[in-house]
């Protein structure tokens, strides 16, 4: 599948330079000119620019990177990191919600349950997955799968990437609040190892429902927040134009959250973000997920639950310095 790369506004200079490199390559193909030296020089410049841009992304820029359409989503990670994935559907109450995907899978030879919020990658799949915004059925399916994991002693891995739970009429009528609350409860309760990974957007209660876990990992440029910067701006600044300011104020970056003790560790992203090099981010997450699970596997179920509770009860004792 050939996809045109999407460039973010602040990546324009890089995009232009890469465009020039492409042009030069075409020229040399036709004319037999030796311009490889020039191309190498320009490529080095691209790398330098990427390095400087991505080493000091503003919180708002991170929001844009976290939402980047080419960024790998839950199903991409499931396919790359797990084997023998068996997709399981339905909440056994009302319906199937594709905003949350999950099932049995093998990770490094061991069976696990993997659950993720999936945004989709093109119009068709985005509609199918409701842009990653789950309804109560999604959270109830997640609860069911977590209990399944507990019953068979399987570790749980969740992949969080959602702008939030779906704000819809039916969702409210069928108990969106209860579904999220119960999902947090089950997440906290299960007597098996649990690891959450915030791979893109960790949006409010919709993310929290899957992230009350023993260990929380977060990709370097992912964001995790109580409210979207736009929503926060429109409430506190009375205009969504202040989203950038709100993003600063909310302290939603992986770096801030690590300092606050809300996440346990940061998974480094390839140069220029996860969307620039999928293989590299798959490998990086693989390298972080394995030790995170190893640390928990073998611990007694009651101990795992007690440690999880203790961790959340301790949270918020200190602010940012």
């Amino acid at each position: 599948m050939l996809r045109m790369p999407t460039f973010l506004d602040f990546e324009k200079p890089i995009a232009e330079l890469e465009g020039k490199i492409e042009e030069l390559r075409h020229l040399s193909d036709g004319g037999g000119l030796n311009i490889s030296e020039e191309v190498t020089r320009m490529q080095e410049k691209v790398e330098r620019m990427l390095r400087t841009t991505y080493s000091k992304l503003s919180p708002w820029q991170k929001v844009l990177v976290a939402r980047h359409p080419d960024r790998p989503h839950a199903l991409d990670y499931i396919e790359a990191l797990f084997d023998d994935f068996i997709h399981l559907s339905g909440d056994r109450n009302y319906g199937e919600d594709d905003a949350i995907v999950g099932g049995l899978a093998r990770y490094r030879g061991a069976s696990v349950v993997v659950i993720g919020t999936e945004k989709g990658h093109d119009t068709e799949s985005r509609l199918k997955h409701n842009f990653g915004m789950a309804r109560p059925e999604g959270y109830r399916k997640a609860q069911r799968l977590m209990r399944l994991a507990e019953r068979f002693g399987l570790p749980i891995v969740t992949l969080v990437d959602t702008s939030g739970a779906y704000p819809g009429k039916g969702a409210e009528e069928r108990g969106q609040a209860e579904a999220i609350a119960r999902s947090i409860e089950v997440c906290l309760d299960v007597r098996v190892p649990t690891v959450a990974v915030v791979i893109g957007e960790g949006g409010s209660g919709g993310a929290m429902a899957l992230a009350a876990t023993n260990t929380v990992l977060m990709l370097e440029h992912a964001v995790y927040s109580v409210i979207s910067p736009e929503g926060c701006a429109s409430i506190l600044w009375r205009t969504s134009d202040e989203a950038e300011t709100a993003a600063d104020a909310l302290k939603l970056t992986a770096q801030n959250l690590e300092e606050l003790g809300v996440i346990d560790s940061i998974v480094p992203e390839p140069l220029g973000g996860a969307h620039r090099n999928r293989d590299e981010i798959f490998e990086a997450l693989d390298n972080a997920l394995d030790p995170a699970l190893q640390e928990l596997v073998g611990l007694d179920g009651g101990v795992l639950r007690a440690k999880r509770r203790e961790k959340f009860l301790e949270m918020g004792k200190k602010g940012l310095s």
Binding site: K169, A181, A212, V226, L260, F312
Partner: protein, 310 residues
């Protein structure tokens, strides 16, 4: 225009201040009728014309619910204030001070924890104060809620949780989101001690508060007309691009959709809660036998060695 102002104004003012000072008559925000303050007090701040339940303060709530209006407020644990050094159009620390002087609650936040008796039986109440920054839930609220749960467990009393909150305290960023799992843990601790958790949903209970402890009670009671839901009405209308039906997310709507056990008028709440407690609290002798190990488990220092029980 100006000559009329000059002549008429003093007359109207004089008339107004003599017959209707603001504090004697209260306008119902639902039907618009004027209600005499004594009548309103006697009716638990429920409009005697239309039955609308006016929002009340945390203190009034405690007075209405505890026997003879008697209760003891417990001191709240100290927590970090303004952990993110948040600033929007105002500093968060200033907003906090403003809220504290507005509610006159000294150093406390949007919640009060108290214990006393309901129907002659001990009970612990954690009640939100909507007037304090919209009853929003941050670290201080979460911590106080956890302490309420611990108190209930120690006293072998039911926990009555009464949210009145727009949701999470945005100014505390992710740490306010973390109060969702923290309050869920608090509720679980009470349940594991074999004690009932009764949630009284009052106007409004939305956002992160509705999606955590508020929906996990053994019994869910709602006050008539209270707005209860996860997403805000405007957000939903903007998303689905259609108008929502009359009474959407109201207590009665939730009852119809199976989300609460009952909708109970304010005047009947104390009796209803008392009757529920009498059914759910186990006889003292049994409670003493099982309470000891479970109480210890609920204490923070022993949590890592907690046994895997149900």
């Amino acid at each position: 225009m100006s000559w009329l102002d000059n002549i008429m104004r003093p007359k109207i003012r004089g008339l107004g201040s003599r017959e209707a000072p603001d504090n004697l008559w209260v306008k119902c925000d639902s039907c618009g009728q004027m209600i005499f303050h004594r009548e309103l007090e006697a009716n638990h701040k429920v409009c005697n014309h239309c039955g609308h339940h006016l929002r009340i303060s945390a203190n009034e709530r405690l007075t209405f619910l505890f026997d003879d209006g008697e209760f003891t407020v417990i001191e709240q644990p100290e927590t970090v204030t303004d952990p993110l050094k948040f600033r929007d159009r105002k500093r968060y620390s200033d907003r906090l001070k403003e809220a504290q002087s507005k509610t006159g609650t000294g150093k406390s936040d949007a919640i009060i924890v108290a214990h006393g008796k309901i129907g002659g039986l001990p009970a612990v109440i954690a009640v939100f104060d909507f007037k304090f920054m919209g009853g929003s839930m941050g670290i201080a609220v979460g911590e106080a809620f956890v302490s309420a749960a611990r108190l209930a467990t120690l006293q072998e009393a039911p926990l009555i949780a009464i949210p009145a909150s727009g949701g999470a305290r945005m100014q505390e960023g992710i740490l306010s989101l973390m109060q969702m799992p923290r309050t869920v843990i608090a509720v679980e601790e009470v349940k594991e001690a074999g004690l009932p958790v009764i949630v009284l949903l009052t106007d409004p209970t939305t956002g992160g508060v509705s999606a955590s402890f508020a929906m996990l009670g053994d019994i869910a009671i709602a006050e008539p007309g209270a707005v209860i839901g996860f997403a805000g009405k405007r957000v939903i209308e903007d998303t689905i691009r259609e108008n929502l039906p009359e009474g959407f997310q109201s207590a009665e709507y939730l009852l119809e959709h199976g989300m609460v056990d009952m909708v109970v008028p304010r005047g009947e709440l104390r009796d209803t809660i008392a009757r529920l407690i009498r059914h759910l609290i186990r006889p003292k002798a049994t409670a003493e036998v099982v309470a000891l190990p479970r109480t210890r488990e609920a204490l923070p220092d022993a949590s890592s060695a907690a046994p895997a029980d149900g």
